[in-house]
Symmetry: C2
Subunit: 223 residues, 2 copies
DNA sequence: GACATACCTGGAACGATGTTCCAAGAGGGG
DNA sequence: CCCCTCTTGGAACATCGTTCCAGGTATGTC
């Protein structure tokens, strides 16, 4: 179990939850999710795995803490906007950009959607939906839709990033997928063939914003 | 590697990809994702793990095949509707209900969003958006938004199901989460407190449909 | 009917991981 | 100085996914 109170103060080279999480984030960012093992972490901190367990309950807690650190930092940096719709876009984009920069956050968000950092998103989005004029009872469905859309994007971005480790190139990843898709019978899957080029060449950030605007339009319609 | 052609025909007790996948689905449905190991599968099929590997490349392929089996079956059963919007709702609900009945499908969908079964969803949704009058260039953003919303819901439902294994009760799971949320300062998180009851007591299927209708409303707005 | 060959099976063995356990170190108060 | 608590390092354990291979089984050929 973790210390009840700071016994005296920091030994200089001492282990701490903060240092452990920072190292974990470094490993995740530079070498990907599969590189984060307690052995790698221990080696980077010049200690043993047992020492880490004294500060962190288990790997889930470690990942949750790392996610909260990265995500809540970027949410806090969201600039306030005059327009509620613009504010919602800014919040969503902040999450999107964080996940594109740190795909492991997306994996974690998809596996454990009720992360502490999600409360922040929930709160601030609710406020903006309210400012948009959404009635009290309709706020929850709106935030919920937004949250599930964000989580879906998170999962997809994280999956794409995982594939890039083998294919290294984005167009190669999408190319392989589209190739499999278009091997199907064009008569039975006309739209798959029709839209193949867009799947291959779309700008993910732009399509993300398009989808977001659909949800916002739908939210306004429920006023 | 798998057989190139059926050499003659089936030995009665013979192993086959179909039997392996069926057993895997049984294990997943009855004992959850963590229960599916090659040892458990081999024991249920009265064989060794090596034999399974002759029919299935690895665990990812096994999970992908299981997911495709369950998901494409339920998509094929979707009744056709007169109204394109109703048809889209029917498709989405079929996915939603499948995942609620088999939460491991949700996990798999969130980890590997470009599953073969997703092509089916993609194709049929595109057709309905087209029937709705969405212009050719706007179809892809619409299907993409729908897909990400579905994936997000899949991830969330699967996560909830995982938690139920320890808490057993849905209200207990949500109760714990809401309790953590409401421990925060009401002054700083007013909406979290305001909406706590709705988080605890909402009907997930209904909220899912609400979000879906927002996306459809947004799609109609881009006509 | 016997033999060769390609297909298929079972289980031992390997390497890696998360986690637990515990003997020992460090630091401060009596 | 000793004792007690907090902290550390690393060995050890249980499980996994996966690989390997010795053997079994069916089939086509003479």
């Amino acid at each position: 179990m973790s210390p009840k109170s700071k016994p005296s103060e920091i030994r200089v080279g001492a282990l701490s939850k903060e240092r452990i999480i920072a190292s974990a984030i470094d490993i995740l960012n530079s070498n990907g999710e599969s590189a984060l093992t307690f052995r790698a972490l221990a080696s980077r901190l010049s200690t043993g795995s047992g020492a880490i367990y004294w500060h962190v309950a288990d790997k889930d807690a470690l990942l949750a803490a790392a996610t909260e650190t990265v995500l809540s930092r970027s949410i806090a940096e969201v600039a306030s906007a005059a327009d509620p719709a613009a504010a919602l876009r800014a919040i969503a984009l902040s999450v999107f950009d964080t996940i594109e920069a740190h795909p492991w956050v997306g994996t974690q968000l998809a596996r454990e959607p009720w992360q502490p950092a999600m409360v922040e998103i929930f709160e601030r989005s609710s406020a903006q939906f309210a400012a948009l004029g959404v009635s009290r009872d309709a706020i929850f469905p709106c935030v919920s839709a937004l949250a599930q859309y964000l989580i879906g994007t998170a999962a997809q971005t994280a999956a794409a990033a995982r594939h890039k480790f083998s294919a290294s190139d984005r167009s190669a990843v999408l190319g392989t997928i589209v190739e499999q898709w278009t091997q199907r019978d064009p008569a039975q899957y006309p739209f798959v063939h029709l839209l193949a080029d867009q799947v291959r060449n779309h700008d993910e950030r732009e399509v993300f914003l398009d989808g977001l605007d659909m949800i916002l339009a739908g939210a306004k319609a429920t006023l």
